[in-house]
C-alpha cells in the first residue's frame, strides 16, 4: 500500500515537472526575441542600440543555448524563484501568492455550495415519482452547464446589486461580497454533480440490493439515502478531483466580473500585460492544485467504498 502511494506521488511530481517544462518552452522559447521587445518597450519603440541589446541578452541569459536557459529556470523554480514580474518588478511567485487566500476562500465556498446544491438536486430528481417534476429537475443541470458564467455573474450583478441594491457589487469586503461570486462559480459545479449523481443513482436504484432492502420493509427514502447514495457517490468524488482545477479556471472569469482580487484577476492582468513569469506561476500552481486534490481523492476512495482495493489501479468509472 505504501508503495502504491509512493508511486502516485512520483507520478504527481512527474506531471508537475512536465507541466513546468511544457509551459516554459511555450512561453519562453516560442515567442520572438524577449530582449528586443523589452528594449523596444523601454525606449518607446525608437531605434535600438545593438550593443545595449547584446548586453541585455547576456543579462537575461538569452545568449545561452535553450537547454541551458531551461535547466537554469528549472533549478531556480525548484528554489521558489520563477523570475521577476514585469508589472511590479518584484518576485513573480510572491506577487501571485498574495491572491491565493482570497481565491481559496471563494473556491471553498463555491465547492461547498455546488456540492450541496448538486447532491440535493439529484436526490430530489431520483426520489420524486412524478415524471413531470423529474423531467423539469433533470433539465435544469443542462441549462446550468450551458450558460456562460461571466454572463450569469453580470445578470446577477445587474438585478441584485444595481436594481434592487441587495448585495455589494464588487470588491472583497465581508461575507456579503462573497455570495454572488460563489453562486456564479458554484452553478456549473452543481450542474455537473447533479448530472453525474442522478445517472449513478438511477442505476443503483434498479439494482437487486435496493429491491431486497425495500422488500424487507425499508422505505423508499431509506433505500435511497441509506443504500443507493453510498454506492453512487464515487463518480461524484472523481468528478470533484477534476473540478478543483476548474474552480481555479472559473475564478479567472468570476474575479474579473466582480473585480475581486485573487489569483484569477492576477492571471488575467498577467496575460494582458504579457507578464510571462506570472503566467508560468499560474499554470504551475493550477497543475499542483489538480495533482494534490487528485492524490487526496485517491486516498479517500477506500474510506468510502471498501470494495476498492488500494493495491489496484485507480477504479475506472463510466460516464464520469
Amino acid at each position: 500500500m505504501i508503495s502504491y502511494f509512493l508511486r502516485r506521488i512520483l507520478h504527481a511530481l512527474i506531471v508537475l515537472w512536465a507541466t513546468f517544462t511544457a509551459t516554459f518552452f511555450l512561453l519562453y522559447v516560442l515567442p520572438g526575441d524577449r530582449a528586443l521587445s523589452k528594449l523596444g518597450a523601454d525606449s518607446g519603440g525608437g531605434a535600438v542600440n545593438l550593443e545595449e541589446l547584446a548586453k541585455l541578452r547576456a543579462e537575461m541569459g538569452l545568449d545561452q543555448p535553450v537547454l541551458v536557459q531551461y535547466l537554469r529556470a528549472l533549478w531556480r523554480a525548484l528554489h521558489g524563484d520563477f523570475g521577476v514580474s514585469g508589472q511590479t518588478g518584484g518576485d513573480a511567485l510572491a506577487m501571485f501568492a498574495t491572491g491565493v487566500p482570497e481565491t481559496l476562500k471563494l473556491a471553498a465556498c463555491a465547492l461547498a455550495l455546488g456540492l450541496a446544491l448538486g447532491i440535493g438536486w439529484a436526490l430530489l430528481a431520483t426520489y420524486t415519482r412524478s415524471s413531470t417534476i423529474r423531467q423539469i429537475l433533470a433539465g435544469m443541470p443542462v441549462i446550468g452547464v450551458s450558460v456562460p458564467p461571466f454572463w450569469v455573474g453580470l445578470v446577477l450583478l445587474q438585478f441584485l446589486s444595481f436594481q434592487w441594491n441587495l448585495l455589494p457589487a464588487i470588491g472583497n469586503a465581508g461575507l456579503a461580497s462573497l455570495v454572488l461570486p460563489a453562486i456564479v462559480l458554484a452553478i456549473p459545479k452543481a450542474a455537473v454533480v447533479a448530472q453525474i449523481l442522478s445517472r449513478s443513482l438511477e442505476t443503483s436504484m434498479k439494482s437487486p440490493y435496493i429491491e431486497t432492502a425495500i422488500s424487507r420493509g425499508a422505505s423508499r427514502a431509506r433505500a435511497l439515502l441509506g443504500h443507493a447514495f453510498r454506492n453512487s457517490i464515487i463518480p461524484v468524488i472523481t468528478a470533484l478531483g477534476m473540478a478543483a482545477g476548474q474552480l481555479i479556471a472559473g475564478s479567472v472569469v468570476v474575479e474579473t466580473v466582480f473585480s475581486r482580487s485573487g489569483i484569477g484577476l492576477i492571471t488575467v492582468k498577467a496575460v494582458t500585460y504579457q507578464d510571462t513569469p506570472v503566467v508560468l506561476v499560474a499554470v504551475v500552481f493550477a497543475a499542483s492544485v489538480f495533482v494534490t486534490v487528485n492524490l487526496v481523492v485517491d486516498l479517500f476512495y477506500p474510506l468510502i467504498d471498501r470494495r476498492i482495493d488500494i493495491g489496484m489501479r485507480r477504479p475506472t468509472i463510466q460516464g464520469a
Binding site: A18, S146, Q158
Partner: protein, 298 residues
Amino acid sequence: MTMTYPRGEGSAAAGRPVSRALGELRIATASLLRQPGLLLASIVLATVLSAALFPQIFTPLNPLRGSGAARLLAPSAAHWFGTDQLGRDLLTRVVYGTGESVKAVAVAVMVGLVLGSVIGLLAGYVGRWVDDILMRVMDVLLAVPTLLISLAIINALGFGTFNIAIAVGIGSVASFARVMRSEVLKVRQMPYVEAASFAGIGPLRTLIRHVLPNAAGPVLVLATLELGMAILSVSALSFLGFGAPPPAPEWGLLVAGGRDYMATAWWLTTLPGLVIAITVLSANRVARALDRRHAATF
C-alpha cells in the same frame, strides 16, 4: 464540416442506394418532429449559421455606425435589442458578431479534432513508447484547466480572435486524443484489421482505410459535444479582452462592452449573453441527440 466518413460506418456507407438514404432522411425528419426540443435547437443552430453567413438578410442596419439621436434606447419594436451608447442597434451588432464567433468556434473544434485524432491514432496504433510519451503529454494537458492552457497560449501567440480559437482548440486536444486512442485500441483487435494485414496491406493503408473510419464515430460525437464548450470558452476569452479589439462586434466582447452601463442599460449585457446561452444550449441538445443515436447504433 465535410468528412469522408460522416458516421464512422466505413466503406459500407459509400455504396448506399439513393432511395435508402431518402428513407433515412424521412425517418430522421419524423423523429425530429416528435421531439420539439430537438427541433427547436436545430432551428436555432440553423439561424445562427445563416446569420454568420448572410448577416445582411437579418438586419438592414450597419453594425459599426450608429445615430447620435438613438443612444441607449431600451428594446422596442424598432430596435428589438435596444441600442448602445453610440446609438448602434444591438441586434445588428449581435447578428454581425455571429460570423466572427462561429468562425472562431469552427477553428477551435477543428484544431482539437485534427490534432487530438492524430495523436490518439498514433498512440493507439503504434503503441509502446510512442503511446507512453504521447499520453504523458496528454496527462499534462489534462492537469491544467483548459482556460489556463488557453491563457498561456494567448500569452505566447498574442491577442486576436484567431489566436483565441487556436488556444481553445489546443485546450481540447487531450480529450479528443483519449477518446480516439481508446477507440483505436478497440478496433485494432477486430478480425478485419488482422485480415487486412494478412492480405498484405501495409500498416499506413490499414490505419487510414480500416482503423480510422471505424474509430471515428465517437470522436465525431465528441466534436459536436465540444461545440458548446468551444462557444463558451471563445466568448469567455473575448469577454476578458483577448480577442478582437473593441469596435468589432463579437459575442463575448458585446457582453463586456455593456459592463459600464449596467446600472442604466440592462439590455447591453443581458441580451447578447442570452443569445450565447441559447446557442450553447441548442448545440448541447443536438450533440446529446447524436450521442444517443450513436450509442443506439453500436
